[in-house]
Every structure is written in structure tokens, then in C-alpha cells.
């Protein structure tokens, strides 16, 4: 099983990296790019993960505690093959 975690800066948080990428897209001809936000994508291979609801609860806790910082980021967790 794989867990995929997407972490994005919150809307209220300034993302200068996203702005720099947006400017580069403009420079390369994609004038339509209005907002770019840069986040993180993490893929976790899970061997013999056991009870799925318990696993999901554990993963959400780890997303909040370690993989994202709730002060500045939101996360999305996807569990699948």
C-alpha cells in the first residue's frame, strides 16, 4: 500500500517561491499563469500496514505533527495502491 501526502502553503501565507516560478512561466510565454503555489509531495510505501482505519488515524496524526506544520501549511492524505 502507498500513502501519498500533499502539503501546500496556506492561502494566507506568502509563497515567494510560487511567485518566482509564476514569473518564470510568464517569461517562457505562459502569460495565463496567474497564481503558482509550490508545495511538497511525499510518497510512503507501507509494508504489511495492518488495520486500515488505525493506519489512517496514525497517518493523519503524523501529517499534523511532522509532515506538515499546521501554522503555515495544509495537507491532503491519500491512501491507495
Amino acid at each position: 500500500m502507498k500513502a501519498r501526502v500533499i502539503v501546500m502553503p496556506k492561502q494566507a501565507v506568502l509563497d515567494p517561491q510560487g511567485n518566482a516560478v509564476r514569473d518564470a512561466l510568464h517569461h517562457l510565454g505562459l502569460d495565463a499563469a496567474s497564481v503558482v503555489r509550490v508545495g511538497k509531495f511525499m510518497e510512503i510505501d507501507l509494508a504489511d500496514a495492518g488495520d486500515r482505519p488505525a493506519l489512517e488515524t496514525k497517518l493523519h496524526a503524523l501529517c499534523r505533527d511532522l509532515l506538515s506544520n499546521p501554522v503555515i501549511e495544509d495537507y491532503r492524505l491519500e491512501l491507495g495502491e
Binding site: V13, L14, A20
Partner: protein, 247 residues
């Protein structure tokens, strides 16, 4: 006084802190490896700067789970001063001991320069020996020092007088945008917790304790801690009534 200087893999200002405390401030100071789970016998704790765990994931995100951080939390709850510089500030924010977070500098550039800092309150163990409004000069060196907190947290910080130092123009003492090296909200350079015994700041007092380094202003922060520990100045009370900034 006996200071603990925490060492994580990737700390690189641990020696600066130890040197400043021992040689410039004439205090006892010892390294404490991050695997240690007790800080018994120390009067104060310094979390130094650097790149703990390579800054992987987020600055301070992995260091906060080191065994020693449980001991730092226990120390913080008991009341001894806990003091984070640069990466130490990031670790204290990640661990929830201080409010807010430190994000990528607005310029996206690593800043390495001297800044002006205005002391916003003397009501803390870290600034009690420094009159309000004093301008200190010390260096910053970081890529992720832009202080961020939501509106409510910012309002709380100001209401409870928790912003101890702000980036200002060293000549005029004004917190102008040009004096802000990283885009921090409200020019915030350092904050303390509500109980006032945990303090973090991005600038380096540890690199400003000797005239040969260009400034001795960092000594005044260390001296405040030493004075507090020696009981020469009353430690701030939990129930102190504090006027909001600007009142």
C-alpha cells in the same frame, strides 16, 4: 550559572554559543547531545543555530522530536530560561514552545548582514537589563527567517507584550520595511511565550559578544538572563498586567 548548549546533528553555532557564554560572559556552559533526555543541573538552556537534520522537510521539523526536546519542554514548564537562536528559534516554534512559524525569506535569498534591533520590552528574563527602545546591533544569517503567524496570534503577541525585539533602522529606530531582512510580519525579530521564560530570535547575540566581532550588544541579552538567574532583577510574574504596544 550553568548553561546547557544543545547539539543536534547539523548544529553549527553551538561553538559560538559555548564560546560566548564561557569566554565573553564568564559562565559555565556545557554541550548537551540531542540524545540526552535530562537537563538536570542546568540553570538555563540555549538552543543554538545551524541546520539541524539538514533543514530537511522544514527547518526544525525533525529536531523537535529528538529526545532532548522532551527535556527542554519539561525545563520550559518548570520556568528556567530557554533561549533559541536562529535555527533554535525555528525548532522552538516547530515544537510549539513558541507561537508562529519561520518561512522562506521574502527575497528568497539567504541574508547574512548586520541588523538593527529595537528592544520592545524589559519585562522578560532576556531583556530585563536593557531599557525599552534600546537599539542593538547584531548579525543575522538565515534563509528561512520570515516570521509568520495568523492575525489572532499576532494580536495576542502584541496584547501580551511578547514581541521582545523588532528589526529597525539602526539610526532612526523605526521598524521600516528597508530594515526588515526577511519579510517578517510587523518586523518581528524575536518573541517569547506567554509565561515569558522561552525566547527565540533570528539574529545572533552569540556572534555579537566581542568588540573584535563588530558588536558587543549580544552580551546585554545574555547578561539579562544571568541577572535574572542571580535574582538581581525580579523575574516577571505570570499575572503581570501588561500594556499593549502603542497604548
Amino acid at each position: 550559572m550553568r548553561f546547557a548548549v544543545i547539539q543536534f546533528p547539523g548544529s553549527n553555532c553551538d561553538q559560538d554559543c559555548l564560546h560566548a557564554l564561557r569566554d565573553d560572559m564568564a559562565q559555565e556552559a556545557e554541550y548537551v547531545w540531542h540524545k540526552t533526555d535530562s537537563l538536570a543541573g542546568f540553570d538555563a538552556v540555549v538552543v543554538p543555530g545551524g541546520f539541524s537534520y539538514g533543514d530537511y522537510l522544514r527547518c526544525g521539523a525533525i529536531a523537535r522530536f529528538s529526545p532532548v526536546m522532551a527535556a527542554v519542554k519539561t525545563a520550559a514548564a518548570d520556568g528556567p530560561p530557554v533561549f533559541g537562536v536562529c535555527n533554535g528559534f525555528q525548532i522552538l516554534c516547530e515544537s510549539g514552545l513558541l507561537p508562529g512559524a519561520l518561512i522562506r525569506n521574502r527575497s528568497l535569498q539567504f541574508v547574512c548582514e548586520e541588523v538593527g534591533l529595537r528592544v520592545e520590552t524589559s519585562d522578560s528574563p532576556f531583556t530585563c537589563a536593557i531599557p525599552v527602545g534600546t537599539i542593538l546591533r547584531m548579525p543575522v544569517a538565515h534563509g528561512e527567517g520570515c516570521y509568520f503567524a495568523d492575525h489572532e496570534t499576532l494580536r495576542d503577541l502584541e496584547t501580551h507584550d511578547q514581541v521582545l525585539v523588532r528589526y529597525v533602522d539602526a539610526k532612526t529606530g523605526e521598524p521600516v520595511a528597508a530594515a526588515n531582512p526577511n519579510g517578517s510580519l510587523a518586523n518581528i525579530a524575536g518573541v517569547c511565550n506567554r509565561e515569558r521564560n522561552v525566547f527565540g530570535l533570528m539574529p545572533h547575540p552569540d556572534r555579537a559578544c566581542n568588540r573584535r566581532l563588530g558588536s558587543e550588544d549580544g552580551k546585554r541579552i545574555f547578561q539579562s538572563v544571568i541577572d535574572t538567574l542571580a535574582g538581581r532583577r525580579p523575574a516577571p510574574k505570570d499575572d503581570a498586567v501588561l500594556a499593549p504596544v502603542g497604548a
